[in-house]
Subunit: 282 residues, 2 copies
C-alpha cells in the first residue's frame, strides 16, 4: 500500500504544481530596438513581475532597471568569456529556469518573431510541456523608418516590404533568389547584414537592381550612439564600412527612401557622410 | 517709421512663435494592432500631453482614454456619414490643426511606416514647414505571430518575411510580380487583403506556390473579437469567407506556419474551423 500512497501523493503534487499560478509563466518578450521608451506597456508590466529575466546582450540598462528588486538577470548573449552563447545552450538555460516554476521572461531585442530564433525556444519549451506566451516588440526596421521620417511603403513607389537577414546558419549570407527578390519590388530591410554587406550589394546589383537605388544604413538605432548613412546600393558597402565592426546595423534599400524632405540630422546621399546623432526625446 | 516698427514687431512675433515649445509639436504615432497594452511607453506618454488627437476609426476606447482631459479627439477614419475620409482630406485636417501651434498627434493603427500612408501626411506637413516626429508601433503581422505563438522566420524554413497589401490605389489587389514573390521564398503577410483574398490565393498558386502551404487568417488581432482560421492557401478563400465583411484581417502564408505545437486556443488546419477567442491577459 505504501507505493500506492506515494503514487497518490505524486498525483497530488502534480495537480498542485499545475494549478499554481506561477507554473508555466514563461514569456518571450520583445524589447524593441533599444530605447526603453519603445517598450510596450505590457513588456514594462511583465518585467516588473518576473523572477528571472534571460536577456540578450544588447538591452538598455534602463530597460533592465524595470525588473523587480531581487529578480535574477542573466545575460544569455555573452557567457563566461565566450563570444556568444549557442542557441542550444540558451534553450537549455531557458528550460532549466522554466522548470523551477518561477516567472520567467526571455527578453529579446526587437520583435521575437522576426529573426529572433523564437521558434527554437518555443519548441524547446513545448518539449517540456510549457507553452510560451509571446509579447511582440517594435522591430528595428520600423524604428529606423521612424527615426528617418521615411515610410517603408509609398503609394505607386513601394507596395511591399521585404525583411531579410544577412546572417545565415553558417554566419554568411543565407541562400536567396536575388533576381526574384529584386523583381518582387518594394523596400528591402536587412537585419544583421554588416558582415555580408559587400556580397549583399553585389548580389542585388547583379540581380538587376539599379545601383543608384537609395540605401540607408543605421547603426544602433534609437540608442544614444545612433549613426546613419544615406547612400545608394552601389556606394553603401564603401560608405558603411565604418559600421562593420561596431553596433548592430540595419540596412534599408529601395525607392521609397528617395525623400525630398531632408531630415536635418541625417547626412545626405551624395556626401554619404557619417552622422553621429542623438535620437530625439519627447 | 511706422512701417519699420511694425516690421520689427512682425519679426519678433515670428521669433516668439518659432521658439514656442508647442510650435511644430506634431507626432505620427503607431497605436499597434488594437490592445492598448501593446502601445509603446512613448505613445502612452505623448497621448497624455497632446491637445488634439486625430485618430483612425479602429482605435480602442481605452487607448483614447489615455488622452488628457479636454483634449480634442477627431475620428478622421469616418466623417459626416461618409464611408471613409479621403487621404487628401486627412492631410488637410492634419495641416489645419498643426498650424494652430497646438500639440498634435496623428494616431494610426499598427505602425505608421507600414501601409499607413504616412508618407503623404509627412509630405503635407513638410510643405507647410512642419517636421513630423514618428513613433513606431507594433505592426499587426508580428502581433498575429505572437498570438499564434509562431515565428515568422525559422532557420532552414523561412529566411525572409514579405509584407504586402491587398488593397491598392483602386481598392483592388495592387500589381505584383507573383512568380517573383513566390520564388523569393519565406513568409508572406498580407495586410488589408479581405476583399481581394480569392484573387490573391489564385495568383500565388498560379505563380507556383504549393496549394497545401499553410495559411492563417486572423481577424481583429489582439481585440476581444479576435478570430483565427488555420487553413492552406488552397482552402483559405473558402474558409476565411466569413471574415470578409467583418473586422480588419491579416493573412500569413508560408511553411514557417506549419507548427508541430498546437496552441489550444487556435483551431486546427485540417478542420479550418472558426475559433472565437479572447486574447490572453498577463
Amino acid at each position: 500500500m505504501q507505493s500506492s500512497i506515494q503514487a497518490d501523493k505524486l498525483v497530488l503534487e502534480v495537480l498542485v504544481a499545475t494549478s499554481d499560478e506561477h507554473a508555466g509563466w514563461v514569456y518571450l518578450v520583445g524589447a524593441g530596438p533599444g530605447d526603453p521608451d519603445l517598450l510596450t506597456i505590457k513588456a514594462q508590466r511583465l518585467l516588473g513581475r518576473a523572477d528571472v529575466v534571460l536577456h540578450d546582450s544588447l538591452i538598455d540598462p534602463r530597460t533592465l532597471a524595470l525588473c523587480k528588486p531581487g529578480a535574477k538577470l542573466v545575460d544569455v548573449g555573452k557567457r563566461s568569456g565566450k563570444r556568444s552563447t549557442k542557441q542550444t545552450e540558451i534553450n537549455a538555460i531557458l528550460c532549466a529556469e522554466a522548470r523551477t516554476g518561477q516567472k520567467i521572461i526571455r527578453l529579446k531585442g526587437g520583435d521575437p518573431m522576426i529573426f529572433g530564433r523564437a521558434a527554437e525556444e518555443i519548441e524547446a519549451l513545448a518539449a517540456i510541456g510549457i507553452t510560451a506566451q509571446i509579447v511582440p516588440g517594435i522591430t528595428t526596421a520600423t524604428a529606423v523608418a521612424a527615426a528617418l521620417g521615411t515610410s517603408l511603403t509609398k503609394r505607386g513607389v513601394a507596395r511591399a516590404v521585404h525583411f531579410l537577414t544577412g546572417h545565415g546558419a553558417d554566419g554568411g549570407l543565407p541562400p536567396q533568389d536575388w533576381v526574384a527578390l529584386v523583381r518582387a519590388g518594394g523596400t528591402i530591410a536587412i537585419y544583421m547584414g554588416s558582415q555580408s554587406l559587400p556580397g549583399l550589394a553585389t548580389h542585388l546589383i547583379e540581380a538587376g537592381m539599379d545601383p543608384t537605388t537609395p540605401a540607408i544604413a543605421m547603426e544602433s538605432a534609437t540608442w544614444a550612439e545612433q549613426r546613419t548613412i544615406r547612400a545608394t546600393i552601389g556606394t553603401l558597402p564603401r560608405l558603411a564600412a565604418p559600421f562593420r565592426s561596431a553596433g548592430p546595423c540595419l540596412f534599408l534599400i529601395g525607392e521609397a527612401l528617395r525623400t525630398t524632405q531632408a531630415h536635418t540630422t541625417i547626412s545626405q546621399a551624395d556626401q554619404g557622410t557619417l552622422s553621429p546623432e542623438t535620437p530625439a526625446r519627447a
